[in-house]
């Protein structure tokens, strides 16, 4: 018999506005930003504080892998903010903006795995900043506004998506020279990117309802088409074997072991309406995936239990069920708990998930 899951929840504050993005800090706190750039910090499901308001508005937020620093990106630029240390008996330091830039459309920001650089989309450029907000390099211009970017595990490769393909930049001798940038073309609008831990497979989710799979070592591209909606989420699990993506009522999970997914049948995680809005692989257990959908259902799945081409049943009845779309899913680094952020501002923290 499965151990019970305990769920602690908090509804929105009276003036709470719909969250658009969230990120989990290394100390376990959750940073949530709304479209107006208001950033709220959750210590647990019952304790949150308004941290600060950034001028750039909010589209995305990324947390430093070790420090209590986040980068918020939005329609009018970006902002780096130090949220102050958590815990301790003394009152927390107020959050402060370390650096900011206004004027460019910034849809994405990603910290490198070692925390040395944050890559920020700025119109058609990717700007690389150090943790104090100083620009160290700039990649581009891409064919259109940057929609997503992702790092290799060693931080030596940065991939950026836009209309027309993926731009791949390679770090060389500590810098990012222009001649170490190549483009993998695709005539379409790329919305999200995922790079395998091996750095050999790159996956993009696209406006034209397809998933494009690039094998970088062989310079080949495979197309998975037939989704009923645009693909806005695609993620590798930590082992690099599995990729999950949305784009239909089923979340599709591909097996990238061996020669990759060509010719294989995927696993189908059924009944997300109208599609999954968030995906999050368990950080420690291979094949365990959390999904959230437009109805506010949060469920977990074990793809290892599944059979290719057949619908897979969720591990248990919804972990959380609200009427508001899931906007963020965040596992604790050890997988001990799962945070879910919903469009109505409610936050749920679940413990005891398998």
């Amino acid at each position: 018999m499965s151990a019970p899951i305990s769920v602690a929840s908090a509804g929105p504050a009276a003036d709470e506005l719909a969250p658009v993005a969230s990120a989990r800090l290394a100390d376990g706190r959750l940073a949530i930003v709304n479209a107006e750039g208001r950033l709220r910090l959750w210590r647990d499901a019952h304790e949150s504080t308004d941290a600060l308001q950034v001028e750039c508005g909010g589209i995305a937020v990324t947390a430093h892998p070790a420090l209590p620093v986040v980068c918020v990106s939005g329609p009018q630029g970006w902002a780096l903010a130090d949220l102050g240390a958590a815990g301790g008996p003394a009152p927390p330091e107020p959050a402060v903006v370390i650096a900011a830039d206004q004027g460019s459309w910034s849809a994405c920001a990603r910290w490198s795995p070692d925390g040395q650089i944050v890559a920020v989309g700025a119109d058609r450029w990717v700007v690389l900043l150090d943790p104090t907000g100083v620009e160290v390099a700039r990649i581009g211009p891409l064919a259109s506004t940057v929609t997503d970017c992702t790092w290799s595990r060693d931080g030596a490769i940065l991939c950026a998506a836009s209309y027309g393909g993926v731009t791949i930049a390679h770090k060389r001798d500590g810098s990012w020279p222009a001649d170490a940038v190549d483009l993998r073309e695709f005539t379409g609008s790329l919305l999200c990117l995922a790079l395998s831990p091996s750095s050999d497979w790159l996956v993009s989710g696209n406006q034209d309802r397809s998933l494009q799979v690039y094998r970088l070592s062989e310079d080949t591209r495979l197309e998975m088409a037939g989704f009923t909606r645009k693909v806005t989420c695609a993620q590798f699990d930590t082992s690099g074997r599995w990729v999950a993506n949305n784009g239909a009522a089923e979340v599709t999970v591909w097996d990238f072991s061996g020669a990759g997914p060509r010719g294989s049948r995927p696993f189908l995680l059924d009944d997300h309406q109208p599609t999954a809005t968030c995906l999050a692989w368990h950080p420690a257990r291979t094949g365990i995936l959390a999904t959230g959908d437009g109805r506010g259902l949060v469920r977990t799945w074990d793809v290892v239990d599944g059979r290719p081409g057949r619908p897979l049943r969720a591990l248990r009845t919804p972990v959380v069920a609200t009427g508001a779309a899931v906007r963020g899913l965040h596992w604790h680094p050890t997988g001990g708990d799962l945070w879910a952020v919903h469009a109505d501002g409610s936050v749920h923290r679940s413990r005891g998930i398998r």
Partner: protein, 331 residues
């Protein structure tokens, strides 16, 4: 095919050639005392009154889209901006999009067909084209090399409402001439004469031009037949044919027509009597993108099929012949 019943945010597109008065009209809408909160998306950094509205500026980004056999272009910048605005959904009553003077309206309109999130959250209300009464005729008549578009003509062709601005700078003869030129391109869109874009806003807002459920209300003069001017390559063809349509034949014909000539057919709309159906079938299309649904009951009304095509190289005889072949007694 589903009806449009959800409360989506109405979006009005304001287009028009350089100097026609688009920004003047936009500012009027924003500053008039209507009690609405409006978000504006502009591609030119003009002087837009902000008051209680939000203004987002961006560069146009045209994206090619291929969804199966459907090929079209969309505005990538609008997809991301509208997506962002929808995250503030409860704060805006309306969205206005002001295009550049050289904009092609087709990608703007097609964006609302193609992106499912936008389609579910927004309703394209109308395309308003502002025409300079004094200089517009020159713009419409400007000859371009083969294959090169005349943006002014396209903007008139796509319009659901036309504001003929700066009429104080013209005499009756000049006005009649430009109205005739506009009519030869777009036979159905109402034309409102204006000075400093002083049109009553109720004529321009909540038009529902892209709502198939309200297509009958949107164009009361839809299918006004006119004398066609020669020398303009973009024209309107209206068909009005009594009888009932066999749905399968209609689907085959429209599918072939739009895939073969979709590039040349800028817009089409129609109200059809389908054999076996007691409700009117209304549709509209932008190039190859088509949307249709059953609407109001015919009741005792005469079942007449009405369609209009606006586009380039339209063959009225062939369209009529092929359409009549879709009738119950057409083959």
């Amino acid at each position: 095919m589903t009806g449009t019943t959800s409360p989506r945010v109405p979006v009005t597109v304001i287009t028009g050639f350089l100097g026609s008065g688009k920004t003047t009209l936009l500012n009027r809408i924003l500053t008039e005392d209507h009690g609405m909160r409006i978000a504006v998306i502009e591609n030119e950094f003009g002087e837009v009154g902000i008051d209680d509205s939000l203004v987002l500026s961006s560069e146009e980004e045209i994206f090619e889209m291929n969804n199966g056999c459907i090929c079209c272009t969309v505005r990538g910048d609008l997809i991301r901006i509208l997506g962002t605005l929808m995250s503030r959904r409860d704060r805006f009553d309306r969205i206005l999009i002001e295009t550049t003077g050289l904009a092609d309206p087709a990608p703007v309109a097609q964006t609302f067909f193609v992106d499912e999130d936008i389609r579910e959250a927004c309703q394209l209300d109308a395309i308003i084209t502002v025409v300079d009464a004094r200089h517009g005729l020159d713009d419409l008549r400007e000859l371009r090399a083969p294959g090169v578009e005349n943006e002014a003509v396209e903007q008139v062709a796509f319009a659901d409402r036309i504001v003929l601005n700066k009429v104080d700078l013209t005499d009756d003869g000049e006005r009649a001439e430009i109205v005739a030129a506009i009519r030869s391109i777009n036979s159905g869109a109402p034309i409102f004469e204006a000075v400093h874009a002083d049109v009553e806003l109720r004529q321009l807002l909540d038009v529902a031009a892209f709502d198939v459920q309200r297509i009958l209300e949107a164009d009361p003069a839809f299918l006004t037949d006119t004398d066609h001017m020669h020398d303009l390559t973009i024209t309107s063809v209206g068909l009005q044919v009594p009888g009932e349509i066999v749905l399968e034949r209609l689907n085959t014909w429209l599918g072939r027509l739009l895939s073969e000539q979709g590039t040349d057919i800028f817009r089409s709309k129609g109200i059809l009597a389908i054999a076996g159906a007691d409700r009117r079938y209304a549709f509209h299309s932008v190039h190859m993108l088509f949307n249709g649904d059953f609407t109001t009951a015919w009741g005792d009304g005469e079942r007449i099929n009405r369609m209009v095509f606006i586009g380039r190289n339209l063959d009225r005889e062939r369209l009529t012949r092929d359409f009549e072949a879709c009738l119950v007694d057409g083959q």
